[in-house]
Symmetry: C2
Subunit: 190 residues, 2 copies
DNA sequence: ACCTGAACACCGTTCAAGT
DNA sequence: ACCTGAACACCGTTCAAGT
């Protein structure tokens, strides 16, 4: 609030004429930013699943550009036209892939959540790079030096826990969620 | 920091002898809290998949108990023995279900991320209940009154976007991710 | 080695007073 | 209706000085 007010050469109090609180401000900025998501990716050629993943990648990239926003997007979702257009595009692709509505509604949530959370995670690292590197190397060290008799599965999986680029890992996650959503009926057996 | 210091009848500065910053403090508290996750659920009777979901539910419940912590857990993961034990238990169940190591490593990430993000989302709502209710009803209203010709898929899916309890929705997400992870090889075709 | 008070540099939000 | 300054009630972190 104070930073934005300064940018606008006014006092922070003045902003409260236009916005109720910081959460609302964040949601408004995000809604605006969502205008830069490339919706044309949904209508390109190729497999519906690949187009959906391209669209989700575009959404993730947009969030990556604004660290603090990604974090608040996890909590306060926007509801403007740009957000609706993104939701519509995702639902349309899931429909094209033959996913029943009930499952598509849930898949939408999980896909956006994973994309948003990944951006939030990564952007936090950007803000404090040295600390993040230290923490990661500490975790890698811990997991490597882990006692194979106490933690046999961690030892067995080993390097796989960290292998692959973030992009590959996120791409796999999208694929897995889409595949799983297709195969998982909504009224399950328990 | 200041609140914890007050609780301990000391100044905030004193805490920096034991902890480098707030992120480290949060990670330490979370690591401690993870000791209350019920790992016995992994060794109970029944389907490995149901046991895995019970374990993930237990993890989610623990995070629900501490709102602020869930949010920071998305960014700074702990690396203590309780965290390792949880990771080991999840990997063991995925192994029991016949999931290859490479896929299990990625599935672990996605499952914990979804659980953590869900707790973070929900806990933020707890902190400002009235604002959250308003926001949700505004979103429901928006999605209901949406122009069916501009957003046909949103209109078609309709109530499914909000149906089901949070528990059911999260349970479905876990199921879908596990199913998808089993069916999605790591080196994909693109 | 551990603790302290005080200070620095920030936040979001409210409110009476102005135009 | 919109804007302002000032204040309130917070933060995390640092640092010189104490024990």
């Amino acid at each position: 609030m104070r930073r934005l007010a300064q940018e606008l050469d006014t006092g922070a109090a003045s902003l409260y004429v236009y916005v109720a609180n910081t959460a609302e401000l964040h949601a408004a900025i995000l809604e605006d930013l969502l205008g830069t998501v490339d919706l044309k990716l949904a209508k390109a050629e190729g497999d519906w699943q690949d187009r959906l993943i391209a669209l989700l990648d575009s959404y993730t990239t947009v969030l990556f550009q604004n660290p603090a926003l990604a974090r608040s997007a996890l909590i306060a979702r926007p509801s403007g036209p740009n957000y609706l257009a993104l939701v519509e595009a995702i639902l349309a692709l899931l429909h094209e892939g033959g996913m029943p509505n009930g499952q598509a509604a849930l898949a939408l949530d999980v896909l956006l959540q994973v994309a948003t959370a990944t951006a939030a995670e990564q952007s936090a690292r950007d803000e404090n790079e040295s600390a993040a590197e230290e923490e990661l190397s500490a975790l890698v060290e811990t997991l490597h030096s882990v006692d194979a008799s106490s933690y046999p599965r961690i030892a067995a999986v080993g390097d796989d826990l960290f292998s692959g680029t973030p992009e590959e890992r996120l791409g796999w996650a999208f694929h897995a969620i889409i595949n799983g959503a297709l195969a998982t009926p909504r009224v399950s057996e328990h």
